[in-house]
Every structure is written in structure tokens, then in C-alpha cells.
């Protein structure tokens, strides 16, 4: 079976149990609706922020819960958006006098469940704000489709809104801030392998030795094209051009640069790739103010990477600098 699983039906629950066992003092777990929240978040005197999406993208989002980041995460099944009841329970749990902000990646399942939950919550008199994240340039944005996907750029929305909420920003300000981050962030990914959901156990797609899935999603959805293998530098150059050209990022821009591993990529290779990304940014006249190399938004054990670039201004730079604390402990 080639995965560390017990009964696949219990996979998400067992992961969450591991997570709270590892963070007994800082996380709380509502077992009925599988909501992970930061200890004490429900009493904090500020707007609280919640995000829900399918599981299998860890550390997104259950391991992005903590001071200065998310107040709560509502994980669905592996690659399946949480149900409406879960979303509603998440909103209710994080409700307070200043309202609740939810962040949602632009996938139809996520959008529909959160929209329904928002309607229900508002009918109960809860003030709800929402920010939709759609940073993936691999997917053409067009009115007769679902539009672009939300991928790792999401982390910058969480970080900025988390820091601003800690500073006391109100709900409308946070919505505007989240949209501003989303407007300024772009991503794209490539993969050298598929991934296996615990309940399926076969790879969602299989690649030949010489094939690359270009513009891949984070759910094992195949990308826009299957291309022939190239060197790391060539692949990064292709990805960089599409990401940087989309906003576009211009000479003189200050940026945050992220090379995100999709789950099965050696850390060494991520740094080989980051090296090229930083070089390309420099050549384009961009100043890399902050960088992030590691796993932020994964697709189980997929071997691949994504590049995310965020255009900064003084406000965003300050928010990225603010302290934050997440469950992952480095030494």
C-alpha cells in the first residue's frame, strides 16, 4: 500500500490527534466538527480568522493555526472541501463582537460550502467577512470557468491578515487587506510525480521518467500540459517567466519569494531551485526582501515545487515581519 495509514476513513482524524498531542498547550480540537483552533482564540478581543479546505496540503492549514496566523482551521477530507456544517461550526466557534473573517481558496467545492455556511451564519446575525484567494497563474482566469485556483500564495494572506488582526484591524480593513495581498501574489507549480490519496492508494496520475506536469494543481489534478523533462534551471526559468509576467512584477519592485515543496521533493533540490529564482528576480530588477524555502502548501507526497511571488509595500513588509507562532517546531 506504500503509505503510512491505518483505516483510510480515520486518516484525517488520526492526523489531527497527532497534531494536538504534539501541541497540547497551544491547540484545541473540536472533535465533532474537526476544528483546530489556537488556545484561547475564541476569547481574543479582535477579529478572528478561520480557513477551511481539503486535507492533504499540510502544513496548510491546520498547522498554520497560532498567534499571528489563523485562529482556526476547518479541514475537510483529503482533497475534499469541508462540509457546510463544518464551515458553519467554524464560523460560529470563532464568532465574537468584532466578527469573523474566513479565507477560502478558489475551488468550487470550498466556495460553495463556505457560501452556504456564510448565508446561514449571517441569518443567525453573525458578521462574516470573506477573502477569496486565487493566485495560480497556471489556470486561465475567464468568466465562463471557475477562475484561477488558490495555492501557496494563501500563506501570505494568512500572515498579513493574522498580523493585522493582532494589531486590532477591523473586519472591513481585514477584507480589504486580504484582497490586496491576493491581488499582488502569483504562483505556479510543476510536478515530477503524482500523489496517492490514502483512500485510493494509486497515484492520481503517473509520469514517465522524462515527463513533467507543468502548471500542476495541489490535488493531484493534472496541470495544463505535460512537457519533456528539462534541467532545474530551465524549469524554474519557465515558471518564473509565467509568474513574474502575470502581475506583472516590474523593475524596482520589492518582493517576497517562496519556493514551496509539494511534499516529496528533497530540501536540497528546493534550494537549487531557489538559487535560480533569486537570480532571475535579480536579473529582472526585483529586490527580494524576504524568502521562504520549504513546505507550505503540499499535495501529499507529490514530488514537485511551486514558485510564489508577492509584491510588497511598506504595509505588507511590516506585516510579514510581525511575530507569529505555528505548531511546527524547528530546533
Amino acid at each position: 500500500m506504500a503509505k503510512f495509514v491505518n483505516d483510510p476513513a480515520n486518516f484525517v482524524t488520526e492526523m489531527l490527534e497527532g497534531l494536538v498531542r504534539a501541541n497540547p498547550d497551544t491547540l484545541e480540537w473540536d472533535r465533532e466538527y474537526n476544528i483546530i483552533s489556537a488556545a484561547g482564540a475564541a476569547n481574543a478581543d479582535r477579529v478572528r480568522i478561520v480557513q477551511g479546505s481539503g486535507s492533504g496540503h499540510e502544513p496548510a492549514h491546520v498547522m498554520a493555526v497560532g498567534p499571528g496566523m489563523l485562529d482556526a482551521a476547518v479541514p475537510g477530507g483529503v482533497f475534499a472541501a469541508p462540509s457546510m456544517d463544518q464551515c458553519l461550526a467554524g464560523i460560529r466557534a470563532m464568532n465574537g463582537p468584532k466578527g469573523v473573517l474566513y479565507l477560502v481558496n478558489n475551488y468550487q467545492g470550498d466556495r460553495m460550502n463556505w457560501d452556504m455556511a456564510q448565508e446561514m451564519a449571517e441569518a443567525e446575525g453573525i458578521r462574516v467577512g470573506k477573502v477569496v484567494i486565487n493566485d495560480d497563474v497556471a489556470v486561465q482566469d475567464s468568466t465562463h470557468t471557475v477562475g484561477r485556483r488558490g495555492v501557496a500564495g494563501n500563506f501570505f494572506v494568512i500572515k498579513a491578515c493574522g498580523a493585522a488582526s493582532a494589531n486590532g484591524a477591523d473586519l472591513d480593513t481585514l477584507v480589504a487587506l486580504g484582497e490586496k495581498v491576493n491581488d499582488n501574489v502569483r504562483s505556479m507549480g510543476v510536478a515530477l510525480s503524482g500523489c496517492r490519496p490514502p483512500a485510493k492508494q494509486d497515484p492520481i496520475f503517473t509520469l514517465g521518467e522524462n515527463e513533467v506536469e507543468f502548471g500542476v494543481g495541489i490535488h493531484g489534478e493534472p496541470g495544463r500540459a505535460r512537457i519533456a523533462m528539462k534541467s532545474a534551471d530551465e524549469l524554474m526559468t519557465d515558471v518564473f517567466e509565467l509568474v513574474a509576467g502575470d502581475l506583472p512584477f516590474n523593475k524596482g519592485d520589492r518582493v517576497a519569494l517562496m519556493v514551496n515543496g509539494l511534499g516529496g521533493t528533497p530540501i536540497s533540490e528546493l534550494y537549487v531551485l531557489y538559487r535560480k529564482a533569486a537570480e532571475l528576480a535579480e536579473e529582472r530588477g526585483l529586490t527580494v526582501v524576504r524568502n521562504y524555502v520549504g513546505e507550505y502548501c503540499t499535495a501529499l507526497e507529490m514530488n514537485g515545487f511551486s514558485l510564489t511571488m508577492l509584491r510588497l509595500d511598506d504595509e505588507l513588509e511590516g506585516l510579514l515581519d510581525a511575530p507569529a507562532q505555528v505548531p511546527i517546531r524547528v530546533f
Partner: protein, 208 residues
């Protein structure tokens, strides 16, 4: 056609449960071709819960029965399937609200209102390669034959739909991100609807 009783409805839902549970892996595999391989799991999660709560479901009317099912689905099923199937059963429940028997017109209404609800919820139209591409022709087949014996025509429409959608490009749901690469693949939602419809017809025949 004869009017549909609570017993008929129960038989039909049981057929749906059986199809969802028997095909959990197959439906996920279909979704894995250009999607994210969770459709079978999502559908089975919902229908397994309906099965588990079977004896306690509100049966004061056919409408209440449908609403109870809708609530279980939106409560337990995430992804696109929760809102889509939940909305369909909710609309069916509203049409059948206090009824203990459904006429051919009622069934026609259920098709129409469910289709409208799904369109409103997910923004899809016929031709976007979703289960609407099964439901819409099924609804038309039903309307054409409703004064006679509509079930065979509806089954035929559903089976035809599975093949017809193969050549469409997905524009909704997770598989839409692959654009043209979705052409040539089956839509898992259509396959599920067609398989369930066929089973409902078989079970209905057996019990008749």
C-alpha cells in the same frame, strides 16, 4: 405513470445508497483521471451516513424525508458534491413538502427545481461537463414520456449522457483546471447519476 409512494421513494434512495457504496473506489478512480480522486469517497460518505441513520429519518411526508437526506449530505459531505447533491435533495423536499404521494407532474417539478438549484449553487450550465449534463436530458426525456412509462426513456437519456459528456471540456469543478485535457474523459458525476438511475429502474421493476 402510476403515482410514486413513500415506499417507491425509499426503494429509490436505497438503490442510490447501494450504488454509492459499491462504487466508492470506481467513482474515485474516475475522478482521478483529471480531477482529485475524491468523488467516490465523498459520495459514499454521504450515503453511508444516510444508511446508518435510515431508521430514524423523518418520514412524516416524502418532502420531509428528502429534507432529512439533504441535511445529512450538506452536513457530512464536503467538496462539490455536498452542496450539489444537498441542494438537489433540498429542492426535491420543497416540491414534495407535505405530500405522501408524488404525481408525474410532481416528479417533473422535482427535476426542474433540482436542476435550477444546482445551477444557482454552482453556476454551471448544461454543457459544462457536470452531472447537469445527465439531469437535463433526463428531465426532458421524463417530460416527453410522463403520461406513458417514462422510466426506460429516462434511463436511456442518462446512459446516452455519459457518452455525450465524454467529448465536452470541463468548465466547473476541480477537473475544469485541466481545460482541454478533460476532453475524452468521463464525468464522474454523470456516471454516478446514470448508474443510480439504472439501478432505481431495476429495483422498481423487481418490486413491481
Amino acid at each position: 405513470m402510476n403515482s410514486v409512494t413513500m415506499e417507491d421513494v425509499e426503494l429509490a434512495v436505497r438503490a442510490m445508497i447501494d450504488v454509492a457504496l459499491e462504487n466508492e473506489a470506481y467513482f474515485s478512480d474516475l475522478d482521478g483521471v483529471v480531477g482529485d480522486a475524491d468523488f467516490g469517497v465523498s459520495l459514499a460518505t454521504g450515503f453511508r451516513e444516510i444508511d446508518a441513520k435510515w431508521d430514524t429519518l423523518d418520514r412524516t411526508s416524502i418532502g420531509h424525508f428528502f429534507l432529512a437526506i439533504s441535511q445529512i449530505i450538506t452536513g457530512k459531505v464536503g467538496g462539490c458534491s455536498g452542496p450539489i447533491w444537498g441542494t438537489a435533495f433540498m429542492r426535491a423536499g420543497i416540491v414534495a413538502r407535505d405530500k405522501s404521494e408524488l404525481s408525474a407532474d410532481d416528479i417533473g417539478q422535482i427535476f426542474e427545481r433540482a436542476i435550477d438549484g444546482i445551477k444557482a449553487r454552482g453556476g454551471a450550465e448544461e454543457g459544462d461537463k457536470t452531472l447537469l449534463d445527465a439531469l437535463c436530458p433526463m428531465s426532458r426525456a421524463f417530460e416527453a414520456e410522463k403520461n406513458g412509462e417514462p422510466l426506460p426513456a429516462v434511463v436511456a437519456a442518462a446512459e446516452q449522457a455519459v457518452e455525450d459528456t465524454r467529448n465536452l471540456e470541463a468548465r466547473r469543478g476541480r477537473q475544469s483546471f485541466t481545460g482541454e485535457r478533460s476532453i475524452g474523459t468521463l464525468d464522474p458525476g454523470c456516471v454516478a447519476v446514470a448508474t443510480m438511475t439504472k439501478r432505481i429502474a431495476e429495483t422498481a421493476k423487481q418490486s413491481a
